[in-house]
């Protein structure tokens, strides 16, 4: 065996090239993996959704509205649906509240007699303006943007709350 094979410099060189190649190997595998998982997470479904004719909603009433994902995966089933609460304030004025409680994201329910949104998880209560009136929720219900076009009500969907 040639003595150069055992020189410390040569040994160091091989060590470094092994570590560098190992790093390249890991990086080349990790990038597509992470990219694949992040891709759908970047998708934003922020398109106006038609939720019904203006006259379907009584003035002063609060109604649950549902709207589908505009570009669902074919295997989605019911998961294409989303919902919010819509309050008609006047002839063409509407306010829409997120269905997700601001505490841990459970769906709130409008109970007309109690004039309140009630959360089934930890007992959060919101008034008809979505402000917290009891329980642990830290802030009001999120509001969706609403517009009226050609006698139809449209909302800009909100995902689950951001919590920041």
């Amino acid at each position: 065996m040639h003595s150069a094979d055992h020189s410390p410099g040569r040994r160091r060189f091989f060590e470094r090239i092994s570590l560098a190649a190992g790093g390249v190997f890991s990086l080349l595998l990790a990038l597509p993996f992470i990219g694949f998982y992040i891709a759908p997470a970047r998708k934003r479904r922020g398109l106006w959704r038609d939720v019904g004719a203006v006259d379907e909603f009584g003035i002063g009433s609060i109604t649950r509205i549902t709207y589908p994902d505009p570009e669902p995966d074919p295997w989605s089933g019911l998961a294409v649906r989303n919902a919010a609460w819509l309050r008609r304030d006047g002839v063409a004025e509407f306010t829409a509240f997120s269905i997700y409680c601001s505490h841990t994201g459970c769906p709130v329910r409008w109970v007309a007699g109690a004039n309140a949104f009630l959360c089934p998880c930890h007992g959060g209560v919101f008034d008809r303006d979505g402000n917290v009136s009891a329980g642990p929720p830290p802030r009001p219900l999120d509001r969706l943007t609403v517009r009226v076009r050609n006698g139809r009500v449209e909302v800009l969907p909100l995902g689950v709350p951001d919590q920041d």
């Binding site: 089933g77 998961a79 649906r81 459970c106 109690a114 089934p120 007992g123 642990p136 919590q163």
Partner: protein
């Protein structure tokens, strides 16, 4: 036969493995008497893991990880004998896994088994605990009923509270900004592939360390761990009176594991898996989204903790708990191991167990949840002679939501005080003030109730007091 066995042993190089794994000596104190049975907990935990692998493999052959079909596939296989049995075993196996893991951890803590030189045994155990809890959580989501669907939303809300990256994490978990067809697949690949791979790698390290460091001998008061002498003394103990693991220690472990599997099968047959809830629909409002039992304490904590501190309880508490558990053997690696010499350790373990049990019970009682299903009080509960005005008041008491939180004559919610005899406690002006302006978790009803409704409720509450014997 013997020659074939000898040939295989030689060519497969089994000799050293058999010697180090099966014949390694264990302290006799861990195999004798009633307390010897405390040392089977780790083995039974591992056996429960095997139950989960076997039943889990079976379930993947029928489960359909698509949001449109997952619920139905679980429903259909649950309706069949073998499907119901396997799913029941997976459910009760998960329960056994969590229970025995917690008991194993409690024993290791109380007996100071985490001290020198077994610090990494404890730390890998803590990480295994984390993985098992993640498996438990992702597993309950895969049922993909309303609880599963809303559980994934709640998980995203926890993640959303993480500083700086919260929003990105939330989108990452849900595969978008809300639940969609892509959400379930993430939990499926986590629960079925990624987490099990990581868990088993860690489990391998944990097992290697058990054999490498040997099982800790029973703690003796007045014999503190001293890193300078411990190993020498332990080796001397094993040399003098150590018993081979096979079969002196292993027999009780296998007996306990067999009893555990029998218990899992009996529970699967008698009770079955947790029943499926309503079909998953992100646009509907379920009245009772609930976690499985091992997270019930956490669910309760979020309702009963003081107001505010959301970020503390949802983000920092789990991190702090993990850091404390990981640091424990590093800062307490020496000293007394016997529980009788560690009153603070025993007290803190007792406190944790008490808090877990108390919060779990509170979680199942869930007094804070508005009882929307509570029925209107009628003459049946209030007495035959109840006047029409009072019965009308009972209807207002119900429809304006009072009864969701307050009980009268034993019917109604439990968050607010029982109002059956409220008028013997407070005067009418105070009662009216509380209704209109609210107090504590009682929302203000000013602007919600008409004068007639208020009057009706006050008369009703006045009348039920008079009725009390």
């Amino acid at each position: 036969m013997r020659r074939i066995a000898a040939w295989l042993s030689d060519r497969l190089g089994l000799g050293p493995v058999v010697r180090t794994v099966l014949h390694h000596p264990v302290p006799p104190s861990t195999t004798r008497g009633v307390t010897g049975w405390l040392y089977v907990l780790g083995f039974v935990t591992a056996a429960a893991l095997v139950v989960q692998v076997v039943t889990g493999i079976a379930l993947t052959s029928r489960y359909v990880p698509a949001t449109a079909a997952a619920y139905e596939s679980v429903q259909i296989l649950s309706g069949e004998f073998w499907g119901g049995l396997i799913r029941g075993m997976h459910y009760w196996g998960a329960t056994a896994l969590v229970v025995f893991m917690l008991l194993h951890m409690l024993r290791s803590f109380l007996m100071g088994a985490y001290k020198f030189p077994r610090e990494m045994l404890w730390i890998t155990g803590v990480l295994l605990f984390g993985f098992v809890m993640m498996m438990a959580f992702t597993g309950q989501l895969l049922r993909w009923d309303q609880d599963g669907l809303w559980g994934s939303v709640v998980a995203s809300q926890y993640a959303a509270r993480v500083p700086l990256v919260g929003d990105a994490l939330k989108r990452f978990i849900l595969a978008g900004d809300a639940v969609s067809g892509a959400t379930l697949g993430r939990f499926y690949s986590l629960h079925v592939v990624l987490l099990p791979l990581l868990l088993f790698a860690l489990f391998g390290v944990h097992m290697y360390l058990v054999v490498h460091h040997g099982i800790s001998e029973r703690a003796q008061p007045g014999k503190p761990v001293d890193p300078r002498t411990y190993r020498k003394e332990y080796d001397r103990l094993l040399e003098r009176e150590g018993l081979p693991y096979w079969p002196h220690a292993v027999w009780s472990e296998i007996v306990a594991a067999a009893a555990m599997v029998a218990g899992v099968i009996v529970l699967a047959l008698l009770i079955g898996a947790r029943a499926l809830g309503d079909p998953p629909d992100p646009a509907s409002v379920p009245s009772h989204p609930r976690p499985d039992w091992y997270l019930m304490w956490y669910y309760a904590l979020l309702a009963v903790k003081p107001r505010g501190f959301e970020d503390l309880v949802m983000v920092y508490l789990p991190i702090i708990a993990l850091v404390v558990l990981v640091m424990l053997p590093l800062v307490r690696s020496r000293g007394e191991r016997a529980p009788s010499r560690r009153p603070l350790a025993v007290a803190s373990a007792g406190l944790v167990v008490f808090a877990f049990v108390a919060l779990t019970i509170t979680g199942y009682r869930e007094p804070w949840v508005p009882r929307l299903e509570t029925p209107v009080l009628t003459a049946r509960e209030l007495g035959a002679g109840t006047s029409p005005e009072v019965l009308a008041g009972a209807r207002v008491f119900h429809e304006t939501g009072c009864q969701f939180c307050h009980a009268v004559a034993g019917t109604g919610g439990r968050w607010g005080p029982d109002l059956t005899d409220v008028r013997s406690r407070i005067s009418e002006p105070v009662l009216v003030d509380r209704i209109l302006n609210g107090i504590g978790d009682m929302p203000a009803y000013r602007g919600t109730l008409s004068a007639e409704q208020l009057e009706s409720i006050v008369r009703f509450l006045d009348a039920v007091r008079v009725r009390q014997p």
